[in-house]
């Protein structure tokens, strides 16, 4: 399999890459930290990836997207799976105080992803095969006071993916939305962990299963589907009065 990963230094992306490494696939990794890209590439090679290339990129530099995506597609010739994983949790309070900060967060978590997806979709559409998997979040399912800026961005991505899924279905390209719940990664290092928390390798396993089974939307781990179904059912009149 030939795999392109954007945000390859994310803990979830890395766990997924390791899962795929064992099967001897070929990979193209994109992330902004060059040293970590090198560390991860050498590691994946020892784990069994037969060929690996990498490219430094800050996802917020939209002007580079087309060039870099083209480069990746040209290097791999044909891509079976694209995984988009970058993201920042941001500071909700700071976003409330200063819209510049909010805009920056929205740019990283939504705008950059829509731009990347636009270029990727066009290339995938012409190869008429393959899967695009994008990590969104359960936070995008419903706005909540504690992180609604992040939620807004992830919600934007989820809705964009719904449309893209319909469009690309005709070309035989599969689009999967991944909605993790709480995952124990560097992004959430400061949080106190409880029983609902999952490790990145569990999420990786869910992503791999989802792709194999051509699932459209996956909640990872699965129980977040139930939790979010309940949360989405709470009427706004009640929702606005509770702390969640």
């Amino acid at each position: 399999m030939k795999i392109l990963i954007i945000g390859a230094t994310s803990a979830i992306a890395e766990a997924t890459a390791r899962l795929w490494a064992e099967a001897g696939h070929q990979m193209y990794l994109i992330a902004r930290d060059e040293t970590r890209l090198e560390t991860i590439s050498s590691d994946l090679k020892i784990r069994g990836v037969c060929q690996i290339d990498s490219q430094q990129m800050d996802v917020n530099e939209l002007s580079q997207h087309k060039l870099i995506i083209d480069k990746a597609f040209d290097a791999l010739k044909f891509i079976d799976v694209v995984l988009i994983a970058h993201g920042t949790l941001g500071n909700q309070e700071a976003c409330e105080q200063d819209f510049e900060v909010a805009l920056q967060e929205f740019h990283t978590n939504a705008i950059s992803t829509l731009s990347l997806l636009t270029h990727i979709a066009n290339r995938m559409e012409s190869q008429k095969q393959g899967t695009i998997a994008v990590i969104s979040s359960v936070a995008g399912d419903r706005g909540r006071q504690s992180n609604y800026l992040y939620g807004t961005a992830k919600g934007t991505v989820s809705i964009f993916l719904q449309g893209l899924r319909q469009r690309l279905y005709k070309s035989g390209v599969h689009v999967m939305t991944v909605k993790p719940g709480f995952v124990d990664t560097p992004m959430t290092a400061a949080f106190k962990k409880g029983p609902l928390w999952a490790k990145p390798d569990v999420i990786a396993q869910c992503i791999d299963n989802g792709i194999r089974r051509k699932r459209n939307v996956i909640y990872t781990p699965w129980y977040w589907w139930i939790i979010m179904a309940v949360i989405k059912m709470i009427p706004e009149t009640i929702m606005k009065k509770i702390v969640l």
């Binding site: 230094t9 930290d33 050498s42 020892i46 784990r47 290092a189 106190k192």
Partner: protein, 433 residues
């Protein structure tokens, strides 16, 4: 954040950081005094606990592997589980492995861990060729038995007190199959057991499960397990599908009656005096790993593991004295583990020395501490010592009597900027600076 070791005793509040690069480790070292490196927290007591802990979870990358020689270089947070799963299918296994695979390379070096092959192959650090250590002044240095040898021998077994181990190169051993050919020998008492160890000193792996509650003529009754790597068969290991112990068990689940019953059943389960079987690698080396969080079986208050070594000369009499004391107390745990060590090495605080080592668990309760204080005295009188990786309670005097090279260790730490920069709850208790 509340932190604890595998024994879940003691528990304390501290700050844990999870650096993802060695540059972030440098900044942690520069910004915190008395930092405590931490791996997977499989040491039982307080050696991986402190006010500021640096967890190596994300420093878990392979750096280089030489398929000809089996030399592996990796970052210190790589777990032995990962190595087993990645390399056994390629025909390589750890030269030395402890009884759990959920420890990091850094933790294995810092405790210079031993396995069932100590009598032939020594301990983990005897197979380490080189490592990179981050010192208290933020400098990174390379160590080997010939390069900065003093610091190398202080860091191997040095319980994280000389610096943060960033990466290491060590030798894997080649295997032809992941199957193990095992033999279990039933020993009616301690003399029979030690004879059986003696007779089987050429076995690649040997360890005994001993029933510490058996008394009088049954004192030391045990099962000696021997193992060899098979020459043919599959090269495969199962990943984790472990059975969780999701909640703390009531503390009285393990009481003298249930433990006695369990131990007796375990011993009598084997009917013949000697049986041979083929076992998988994971069931031979890591029987406890099938039960996730088995440490919760001891209840919320946790437990203490007590492991000592007695030098071979005169060890048998001392060993009997200690076994008698434990069986009389009726407090001994589940099965205890006994092993005959080969020669020790040149590392300043490494635990193994030629003789007998016994490890057993005690539920945390006041009378256990009383018993263990008494055992300390017996152990030290015989010229023995306690294993730092298991310890949660020994006093400064017991440490300094057991580890006579402690002052040499301190002077190496002084020389390499470790004093004040690295410490743990344990190091403070043991009177290290």
């Amino acid at each position: 954040m509340e932190a604890h070791g595998w024994g879940r005793y003691p528990r304390l509040e501290g700050e844990i950081t999870y650096p993802v690069t060695s540059a972030q480790c440098v900044s942690e070292v520069m910004h915190n005094a008395g930092l405590t490196p931490q791996g997977l927290g499989r040491s039982y007591g307080d050696s991986c606990l402190g006010r500021h802990m640096l967890n190596t979870r994300y420093l878990d990358h392979y750096i280089e592997f030489d398929e000809q020689t089996g030399l592996l270089t990796c970052a210190a947070g790589v777990s032995l589980d990962d190595i087993v799963q990645t390399f056994v299918p390629k025909g390589w296994f750890l030269s030395v492995t402890p009884g759990t695979r959920f420890v990091t390379v850094g933790g294995a070096i810092a405790s210079d861990v031993h396995g069932k092959n100590h009598h032939l192959d020594g301990s983990f650090c005897d197979h380490v060729i080189q490592m990179d250590l981050l010192l208290g002044n933020g400098e990174k240095v390379s160590l080997s038995p010939t390069l900065n040898a003093d610091l190398f021998h202080a860091t191997c077994g040095g319980m994280g007190l000389t610096g943060v181990i960033l990466s290491a190169t060590f030798r894997l051993k080649s295997i032809r199959s992941s199957d193990m050919l095992t033999t279990t020998i039933k020993a009616a008492d301690i003399d029979a057991l030690l004879d059986a160890f003696e007779e089987n000193q050429d076995a690649s792996y040997s360890v005994a499960w001993i029933d510490c509650l058996a008394r009088d003529k049954n004192l030391g009754r045990s099962l000696l397990m021997l193992g060899e790597h098979a020459d043919e068969g599959p090269l495969a290991v199962k990943g984790k599908r472990r059975i969780p112990v999701p909640v703390d068990m009531p503390a009285n689940l393990l009481n003298p009656y249930t433990v006695k019953l369990f131990n007796a059943a375990y011993f009598h389960r084997i009917r013949q005096s000697r049986i041979s079987q083929v076992a998988s690698l994971e069931s031979f080396f890591y029987p406890l790993d099938t039960l996730d969080n088995w440490n919760r079986l001891y209840g919320r208050k946790g437990f203490i593991q007590y492991q000592f070594v007695l030098p071979k000369s005169g060890g048998i009499i001392g060993l009997k004295k200690i076994l008698e004391r434990i069986s009389q107390s009726g407090m001994g745990s589940f099965l205890a583990v006994l092993k005959v060590f080969g020669k020790g090495n040149n590392n300043m605080l490494s635990f193994p020395k030629q003789g007998y080592t016994l490890a057993l668990d005690f539920k945390v309760e006041p009378k256990a501490f009383e018993l263990l204080n008494g055992l300390d005295k017996l152990v030290l009188d015989e010229g023995g010592r306690l294993y730092l990786a298991k310890d949660a309670r020994m006093g400064e005097a017991a440490f300094k009597a057991g580890y006579s090279r402690w002052s040499e260790f301190e002077s190496v730490r002084e020389r390499y900027h470790a004093i004040g920069a690295f410490s743990s709850e344990q190091s403070r208790r043991l009177g290290l600076r």
